[in-house]
């Protein structure tokens, strides 16, 4: 009896796994998701690089010292170092010429500044910025900083400070971030990346369980299966099979990421790769989250009769996940704060929030272990309810049950 039960679970899980892994959609997803995430990471890196990288600027000014100071300011610091041309306003038609350069399709000029340095008449001076693109707010901000710096240099020099002193005073400060504290920008990126990956795989594979139940329900395969096996074996086999597909996919992604870093395809300054311990915890929290959500999804699937009805019920599955995205910013910036602590111990948000805390914060082994135990208990309870709803629901066709009916289902058996 027991062995035939295990045999059946194995057969169902195996079928579920093979059918899914062989499907084209699996291959597409496996390639598409990392491609999308890679594009996002690369894209944002490119955007960051190109923002403020207005690489060719012009200054129209009489004041050679101001021009030099501005040049010094603009090429110091972390960002891109633009090329600065200096023109005198006395050159005839200079502005018309620069305007023409801005309009030219193949022109490299990104904008020009007309500066009238401070004089007794206008103590702060007058500045006019003509950009190629008005949307380029970053270059505008850099120019503003540059002007302020240039004026500071001038004032300091006038008050008798030596050039070397001025330089050292105004040199940009190198703020190093200790990544062992877990607060580096790379860890932030990694945390967001892993958060959305976790969100996606839990929701996707949870919903897959529900979909697969509806498929068996609408195609009446259940009737055939139930003539040889127990509903609980069917549910167990299905959850294991679909979960194994999820693990396979995550495994492929991790392997791809490792391979990409090993082969230096991705620059070493892009720390999107979690450590081995983090990867292991990812698997643990994915499995816990998947078990919890797929149990709920199984109950939802058994209650409904079609994909459309399932879509309406899907909100119950998504609400806790959505609440995670609402607090995730707070959690990442303050991983050991009260909101992070509370949400990492609500079982439905634990996998996402606790895992994020593991990456960016220091939740402590006790907290992590405690949350895992707490989730295991919740899963056991939810599974108990879900398997009851499942076992009655799969044989019910027709209208969607209301709450009293579901309560009655729980009492059957």
């Amino acid at each position: 009896m027991h062995s035939s039960s295990l045999q059946n679970i194995w057969l169902v899980a195996r079928r579920e796994y093979l059918e899914r892994v062989r499907a084209k959609s699996f291959l597409v997803m496996t390639i598409l998701i990392p491609a999308l995430m890679g594009t996002l990471v690369l894209g944002s890196a490119l955007i960051n690089r190109s923002l403020g990288s207005a690489s060719h600027l012009a200054i129209v000014t009489d004041d050679a010292q101001f021009a030099t100071n501005l040049q010094t300011e603009m090429i110091s610091g972390d960002g891109a170092k633009p090329k600065l041309d200096v023109y005198s306003p006395s050159e005839p038609g200079i502005r018309a010429q620069l305007d023409a350069q801005l309009k030219a399709k193949d022109g490299t000029l990104d904008g020009y500044l007309v500066a009238t340095p401070p004089s007794p008449a206008s103590p702060r001076g007058a500045y006019e910025w003509v950009p190629k693109s008005k949307a380029d707010v970053i270059t505008k901000a850099r120019i503003e900083d540059g002007i302020r710096g240039a004026l500071t240099r001038e004032t300091l020099a006038r008050s008798g400070m030596g050039a070397a002193e001025v330089n050292s005073l105004l040199a940009p400060i190198q703020l190093k971030t200790d990544s062992s504290g877990g607060g580096s920008g790379a860890a932030f990126g990694s945390a967001y990346g892993m958060f959305f990956l976790m969100y996606f795989v839990i929701l996707f594979y949870g919903m897959n369980v529900a979909r697969s139940i509806i498929e068996e329900k609408t195609s009446r395969v259940f009737e055939v299966l139930l003539a040889t096996m127990k509903p609980s074996d069917m549910l167990a086999g299905k959850v294991i099979g679909v979960g194994a597909v999820g693990l396979t996919q995550v495994g492929i992604w991790i392997a791809l990421a490792v391979a990409a870093v090993e082969s230096q395809l991705v620059g070493s300054n892009v720390h999107i790769l979690p450590s081995a311990g983090q990867a292991a915890l990812f698997v643990v929290f994915f499995l816990l989250g998947y078990l919890l959500y797929s149990s709920i999804a199984a109950a939802l699937g058994a209650m409904t009769n079609s994909e459309q009805e399932l879509q309406q019920m899907q909100i119950f599955l998504m609400l806790p996940l959505i609440s995670c995205t609402v607090v995730i910013f707070n959690v990442v910036t303050n991983p050991d704060g009260p909101i992070a602590k509370i949400f990492s111990f609500i079982p439905f948000t634990t996998p996402l929030i606790m895992y994020t805390r593991v990456i960016v914060g220091k939740p402590g082994a006790l907290a992590v272990g405690g949350s895992i135990v707490e989730m295991a208990v919740t899963i056991a309870i939810v599974l108990w309810f879900a398997s009851r709803i499942y076992r009655v629901g799969i044989l019910m066709y027709g209208k969607k049950p209301n709450l009293p009916e579901i309560v009655r289902w729980l009492k059957y058996s």
Binding site: S4, R15, E19, S219, R220, T228
Partner: protein, 301 residues
């Protein structure tokens, strides 16, 4: 030893009584027809027979033992609606279902091939279910129910959706299985099939057993009060006092009698008047008539 024995089973869903006090038994080598109008409790009864649901009261025995799940490996079941995975290849599907019934992969494959040949559907083997016609899916489902060589075959509406050629093929297969000593239970609305194939029947309506027994026993309970006479010449015999109702069309009189015994008197009467009788037949009640008569009065609900 009865293959199936239901004793006084009752099942209530929410507020609706699906089956009430149903008792029946099926012997080995019997073709058993389970009849009844839509929603009468046929599928509910079948589901209790194979442990998909449990009766609220009463007992179910399979193969002479109180119901256990182990007995299910000796039962083949074809559900009313087709239950196959749409995207799965036919052979993979049959092997999967065969293995769930305890066959090894090799045995399941060999038997699937043999069955596909036997019921002429080898061209479907490499295809996915969704690529098959409804009739072909039905045949695959039919194979799936028989792959593990069950001693009890339960089929809910096995012929629905089949063309006459395929229906005859599957009917013949069922008849062959009965010859091998298997017990076969099937439910249907098609009374002509039941009349042709079944040894025993049970008619249920609104969850209650209305009639049961061998075909002969059931029919014996109904009067042979219909007469068909093909004649030429004098038709005055139709005014015989034993005639309750008559309809004459193209030289054939369809007569309903007040009393079975009147048939011979009418024949004598007609001959005495010099009527030429080319055919004279006392008709058995058809199962369809029995069905309508038994169920008809309650077909409202």
């Amino acid at each position: 030893m009865s293959i199936v024995e239901l004793h006084n089973i009752r099942k209530v869903y929410d507020n609706k009584v699906a089956v009430e006090g149903l008792t029946l038994s099926i012997e080995p080598g019997t073709m058993f027809g389970l009849l009844g109008p839509n929603g009468s409790g046929k599928t509910s009864s079948i589901r209790m027979m194979i442990g998909m649901t449990m009766p609220d009261s009463g007992t179910v025995s399979l193969f002479g033992q109180p119901f256990t799940r182990e007995a299910l490996s000796r039962v083949g079941y074809l559900p009313e609606e087709r239950g196959l995975y749409k995207k799965m290849k036919v052979m993979d599907q049959l092997i999967f279902l065969g293995r769930l019934h305890g066959l090894s992969e090799g045995t399941a494959r060999a038997r699937s091939l043999a069955w596909c040949e036997r019921i002429e559907i080898t061209e479907a083997i490499g295809k996915k279910t969704e690529e098959l016609s409804k009739g072909m899916q039905q045949k695959i489902q039919f194979i799936a129910a028989l792959l593990h060589d069950p001693e009890l075959v339960i089929m809910d509406e096995p012929m629905s959706g089949l063309d006459p050629v395929n229906a005859a093929l599957l009917q013949q297969t069922l008849i062959d299985l009965r010859k091998e000593g298997k017990a076969i239970l099937f439910s249907t609305h098609r009374m002509d099939q039941v009349e042709k194939m079944c040894d025993e029947i049970a008619l249920i309506s609104r969850g209650k057993l209305m009639l049961s027994g061998s075909m002969r026993e059931v029919k014996a309970g109904y009067p042979r009060n219909r007469l068909q006479v093909a004649f030429t010449g004098d038709g005055s015999f139709i005014r015989h006092p034993g005639v309750a109702d008559v309809k004459v069309e193209a030289g054939v009189a369809e007569i309903t009698l007040r009393d079975e015994a009147a048939a011979q008197q009418i024949l004598a009467d007609a001959l005495a008047h010099g009527t030429v009788i080319t055919r004279f037949e006392v008709l058995e009640p058809t199962l369809e008539e029995i069905f309508i008569e038994t169920v008809g009065g309650q077909a409202d609900a």
